[in-house]
């Protein structure tokens, strides 16, 4: 198997005509774990969503390739089938679709001939990973993310990663909403995937997660760019001193590019209690 290489070069992206990513350069190879750190609103999650192909973000420059294939030309599902995975910060809830059905459909699309994995093997694999993540055994039968606690949603993202075995995984703030035990469990799960054919990008603004998953490279993001890269020493200094020294060093005053990343859902509401309708 070819060792995966995700290359992000001078990537620029906008949301509603506002430029968020202003030229990001990053290369992740199989066997490596990278961490992107940085204060809130500096474009970290935008980078993750842009690479995965969220329809809200528009790429205005640069390239993203996975083993020399142009990722930006692919649809979201093609990116996934090429081996990209994004553990989302706010995964959607889908009522009526059970976790197990969803996972099985997703895994089926991964096989070249479109044949389903034998049911027995699927269940065994699912059970194994559900136990590994110390999730409730009824989870496969529950509707996808519906009524899940914040922590359960995050574990469910990791479960999908374990099942789908991507080449490159991006974990977007997987540590938010997790207690210490859950953090350890998720950390162990990610570590269990470490090998030459798996590369990983962790996005976080706490150092906590990095106690469990030791990254090979640490990058600091500000103003929509990676402004500093380094190793363990950089991470430890941030843990001690915060980000201010970097801002001073680089002459940055306001590190943010995004003010509010919350998404809104739109629904139209019908007429209400119109008595006229019944001639009352």
């Amino acid at each position: 198997m070819e060792k995966p290489i995700l290359n992000i070069s001078d990537l620029k992206a906008t949301i509603e005509d506002k430029e968020i990513l202003k030229g990001v350069n990053l290369e992740i190879k199989g066997g490596e774990i990278h961490a992107i750190m940085g204060p809130n609103g500096t474009g970290k999650s935008t980078l993750a969503s842009t690479v995965m192909g969220h329809p809200k973000y528009e790429v205005t420059g640069g390239t993203v390739t996975l083993n020399n294939e142009n990722v930006l030309e692919m649809e979201v599902d093609q990116r996934a089938r090429a081996g990209l995975f994004l553990a989302m910060q706010y995964p959607a809830e889908v009522s009526g679709v059970t976790n197990a059905d969803f996972l099985r459909t997703a895994m089926q699309t991964k096989t070249a001939d479109g044949k389903a994995m034998p049911l027995f093997k699927f269940i065994r694999e699912l059970d194994k990973n559900v136990s590994k993540l110390e999730m409730h055994q009824d989870l496969p039968h529950r509707y996808l993310n519906e009524g899940f606690s914040g922590g359960e949603k995050k574990r469910n993202e990791i479960l999908q990663m374990l099942m789908l075995k991507p080449k490159i995984a991006i974990l977007d703030e997987i540590d938010s909403g997790l207690d210490v035990d859950a953090l350890r469990i998720v950390g162990e799960a990610v570590n269990s995937m470490r090998n030459e054919n798996f590369g990983c990008l962790l996005i976080t603004h706490y150092q906590r997660l990095l106690d469990y998953i030791e990254p090979d490279f640490v990058h600091i993001m500000m103003q929509g760019r990676i402004v500093k890269s380094g190793g363990k020493a950089l991470m430890e200094r941030i843990d001690r001193e915060g980000y201010d020294w970097i801002k001073q060093e680089l002459g940055i005053e306001d590190e943010r590019v995004v003010i509010d990343e919350e998404t809104r859902q739109v629904a139209s509401i019908g007429t209400c209690a119109t008595k006229e309708a019944l001639n009352l």
């Binding site: 019908g270 007429t271 209690a273």
Partner: protein, 401 residues
């Protein structure tokens, strides 16, 4: 109907004179005045493509009754049904006057509108199902209604006596003429429970009017699941009256409107006694150039304290040209009650699509999965595996078409 019992003769004569002056049903937000509901007999029998595999009924299934052109052509019931009366409405009018008289044409008054009158005047099919006091029937009864040589002008009367229980699936699969007119009157007695599933799968050439009304007495429970999967135009009215204290009703409706179809569906729960609970849930899909209207009505009368009226209507629109309306109405004349409503009409949620696609599902696969999930609450309610499987297949075909 060839012969009517003497007690119905005067009513028949009266309705016959009155009929032309009666109004059409209201069908809020759908223009129906040009729909030809009265074209009962055409000369040719129309070839119909059955949507549902009719093999379903040829199997040697137990607890299945087939009513074809008003005649029971198949009936195989287990011992659990012993004592209950399951017979054609024609036979019931003749032999069970004392059971039928208080309800027939009273729960839905025959002169409610022109179409209920039309149903009464041209009645040619239907069943009476009567369950005795405290009789609990475990197995699910499945009745299939067909109009093989005639239009389906069907009238059912379902009576559950005090403390009895029944699970009943009602399927309308064929009407060889251009119309179908389906009335069902239901009595859920004191402390009785009815699980009622209705599947309408009539072909495109059939214009359907459906009127169902259930009367639920004290502490009675009605669980109703309704699949409106006809391919032709339709006006469907579904009423529940909670007339005894502690009565409750839970109704779930799913509808799929496709091609140039217009569907107008009303679900109303009326609280006529204190401490009654009504819950309405409507889920619909509107695609191609179809128009789908849901009218949900929860009505609590004065003095009916401690009652609860809830409803939620949701419609997914799958094309630029499809239309949908969801009108939630709460009409409340009492202070000491709880009530809630929700209505949403919109496209498939983009965030859900993105999420599923980010795991490798194609757009098509993701859409299908989301729609399935959306219709699931109804499908899960069907308490018969064969029917459930057939139904799932039908939904799949309609979505993919």
């Amino acid at each position: 109907m060839t012969k009517l019992p003497t007690w119905l003769q005067p009513i028949y004569e009266q309705v016959k004179t009155e009929y032309a002056t009666l109004a059409l049903p209201k069908a809020d937000k759908t223009q129906i005045k040009d729909w030809d509901f009265e074209n009962i007999e055409t000369t040719n029998t129309l070839a119909s493509q059955e949507q549902i595999n009719l093999n379903l009924i040829k199997e040697n299934n137990e607890n299945v009754v087939v009513v074809c052109d008003g005649v029971i052509t198949y009936k195989k019931l287990s011992n659990a049904f012993e004592g209950a009366i399951i017979t054609t409405i024609e036979e019931a009018l003749e032999n069970h006057e004392e059971l039928i008289k208080p309800y027939f044409g009273n729960i839905i008054p025959v002169n409610t509108n022109r179409l209920t009158a039309l149903n009464f005047l041209n009645l040619n099919s239907g069943l009476m199902i009567y369950v005795n006091k405290n009789q609990v029937i475990e197995p699910t009864l499945h009745v299939i209604y067909l109009g093989e040589k005639r239009a389906l002008i069907n009238h059912n009367l379902i009576i559950l006596s005090q403390g009895s229980q029944l699970r009943y699936i009602e399927s309308y699969l064929k009407s060889s003429q251009t119309i179908a007119n389906l009335n069902t009157e239901i009595v859920v007695g004191e402390n009785a429970q009815l699980d009622h599933t209705v599947m309408e799968c009539l072909p495109e050439h059939v214009l359907t009017y459906k009127c169902t009304k259930a009367q639920v007495e004290a502490n009675g429970r009605l669980y109703s699941s309704y699949g409106a999967l006809n391919e032709g135009h339709m006006v469907s009215e579904n009423f529940v009256s909670l007339i005894g204290s502690g009565a409750s009703a839970k109704t779930k409706t799913v509808a799929i409107a496709q091609n140039k179809q217009k569907q107008n569906i009303t679900v109303e729960v009326e609280h006529l006694a204190p401490h009654t609970v009504g819950n309405i849930m409507n889920h619909g899909i509107s695609k191609d150039e179809a128009q789908l209207v849901f009218n949900g009505i929860g009505k609590i009368h004065k003095g009916m304290q401690g009652s609860d009226a809830q409803q939620a209507s949701r419609v997914m629109i799958l094309s630029e040209t499809a239309r949908a309306d969801a009108n939630p109405l709460l009409l409340i004349e009492e202070y000491d009650v709880t009530a809630g409503h929700a209505a949403a009409v919109g496209k498939i949620n983009e965030e859900q699509l993105y999420y599923l696609m980010s795991r490798g599902l194609t757009r098509r696969e993701a859409e299908t999965l989301i729609i399935h999930g959306f219709l699931m609450p109804f499908v899960n309610d069907i308490q018969n595996e064969t029917v459930q499987a057939e139904f799932t297949k039908l939904i799949e075909r309609k979505i993919m078409a």
